[in-house]
């Protein structure tokens, strides 16, 4: 960083936003702070710390589970509310991705704000139907999927809401990595609602392709109304590699990633049917 000359401890959201508005692109909010250290932005001269703004919480509300943006991965993994939400997939993975000595640093607001292509939390939140509550002088909410497409410059991510209507669905995440702590060559997340043995709605999300998390509504729709059967998932596994946008980089070729897309659907089938393929 080098050019940073001020570290500002904001006392509340209003204070933080006023400071950010005053400084414009010269200010950056501090989540866990990791990205600010690793990928320094020469334009930024002031860091605004939100840790005293009361944003470290997970609480059940009438509309769902609200997660304060300063909540760390470790605290997500330990939340009993999240352990029960959509089968506990977010809590499970929050305690396993990255390293043990950064899981207590990485915040949910930080990963959303930065939204790096290799991130595994954001695509899973998109699959879970998460909404973000923003503060930019007033509070407003929007779907996380929309937020990452049209980032709201200057707005503070106050919290994330996992809607209560998704609490009973089945969350699933599969990531292909070279080691357990490595970043994903391909990330797949899903949320499936069922009515008996039939899929009533689905969110299928791919990431790490390389590129940011993307929801595939048409592919998801192909599952709706179908039985939880091998035929259903085999058809999806055939179709998905042609639909999901993947590319080549130093980690993997496009062809290899298409194989991984196929594998991801096979693992989804195993998760949903309990039958190993």
């Amino acid at each position: 960083m080098g050019r940073i000359h001020e570290y500002y401890h904001a006392t509340c959201l209003e204070d933080a936003f006023a400071k950010a508005r005053e400084l414009g692109s010269a200010a950056a909010y501090v989540g866990g702070g990791i990205e600010l250290v690793l990928r320094r932005n020469a334009e930024v001269t002031t860091l605004i710390d939100l840790s005293q703004c009361g944003l470290d919480y997970v609480k059940a509300t009438p509309t769902g589970i609200e997660i304060g943006s300063q909540t760390t991965l470790t605290n997500l993994s330990r939340s009993s509310d999240l352990q029960q939400f959509a089968g506990g997939s977010l809590a499970y993975w929050a305690g396993r991705i990255a390293h043990n000595n950064v899981r207590d640093m990485i915040t949910i607001g930080g990963v959303i704000g930065r939204n790096q292509p290799w991130n595994d939390v954001v695509p899973h939140l998109v699959a879970l139907g998460a909404q973000v509550l923003l503060y930019d002088g007033a509070e407003r909410s929007m779907l996380l999927a929309d937020y990452i497409e049209a980032k709201q410059a200057g707005a503070i991510i106050k919290s994330v809401l996992l809607p209560s209507e998704n609490a009973g669905a089945s969350g699933f995440m599969w990531r292909f990595t070279r080691t357990e702590q490595d970043i994903s060559t391909l990330h797949f997340s899903s949320l499936i609602h069922t009515d008996g043995e039939t899929v009533s709605s689905a969110n299928l999300v791919f990431a790490g392709r390389p590129g940011h998390a993307a929801l595939y509504p048409q592919l998801s729709q192909e599952l709706v109304g179908k039985a939880l059967s091998h035929t259903t998932f085999a058809k999806l596994a055939e179709r998905a590699p042609a639909v999901v946008e993947v590319g080549s980089d130093l980690r993997a070729t496009e062809e290899y990633r298409r194989e991984l897309v196929h594998a991801a659907i096979v693992y989804l089938e195993e998760h949903m049917t309990g039958v190993t393929q």
Binding site: M1, G2, I4, H5, E6, Y7, H9, V30, G33, I34, L36, V37, L38, R40, L47, D49, S51, T74, G95, R96, H99, N100, N101, V102, D104, M105, E180, Q181
Partner: protein
């Protein structure tokens, strides 16, 4: 800017740059038991406890630690008064060059402070940032299991200095 931090139970005050990381501040101030290596949060050598939780000091902004408490491996125990974990590492052959050990001990302490009956999987997960390129990992695993057993026998349930 000035920050106040409790390090190994001692209140300290430092002048730091707003963009300095804890690793650099600690080593500059003489806490040489905190080791730097990758400077990218990958290797675990610089792990310290921040309010009892393990963090990579190479990625932690010193300003963010203002008002908090830190523990380095020296705060856990030293050669004259080793902690049960440090004893177990030595007895189980888990130390060779020793460079990674401060971070590994710190991670193990964070685990055992919360759970004195961890499974092997829980130990691996709690120490998954701590790379060791000479001893390998089995001896460290055995050392933590051994320390946990000792703690259960002691009945203290707390990893404090002997």
């Amino acid at each position: 800017m000035t920050i106040k931090i409790v390090i190994n139970s001692v209140q300290r005050t430092f002048d730091v740059q707003p963009d300095e990381v804890l690793l650099d501040v600690l080593r500059r101030e003489g806490y040489l038991e905190v080791k730097g290596s990758c400077h990218a949060g990958d290797c675990g050598a610089c792990t310290i406890l921040l309010d009892g939780r393990p963090v990579a000091s190479c990625l932690t902004l010193a300003a963010k630690a203002d008002g908090h408490s830190l523990t380095t491996v020296r705060g856990i125990g030293d050669q004259a008064h080793p902690n049960v974990i440090q004893d177990a590492f030595v007895k189980n052959g888990a130390v060779q060059c020793g460079y990674c050990i401060p971070g590994a001990i710190v991670s193990a302490k964070a685990l055992l402070d919360e759970n004195i009956n961890p499974t092997e999987d829980e130990i691996r997960l709690a120490m998954d940032s701590n790379y060791c390129r000479c001893t390998g990992y089995e001896q460290q695993l055995e050392a933590v299991l051994s320390a946990a057993e000792q703690l259960r026998e002691d009945g203290t349930g707390k990893v404090s200095k002997k």
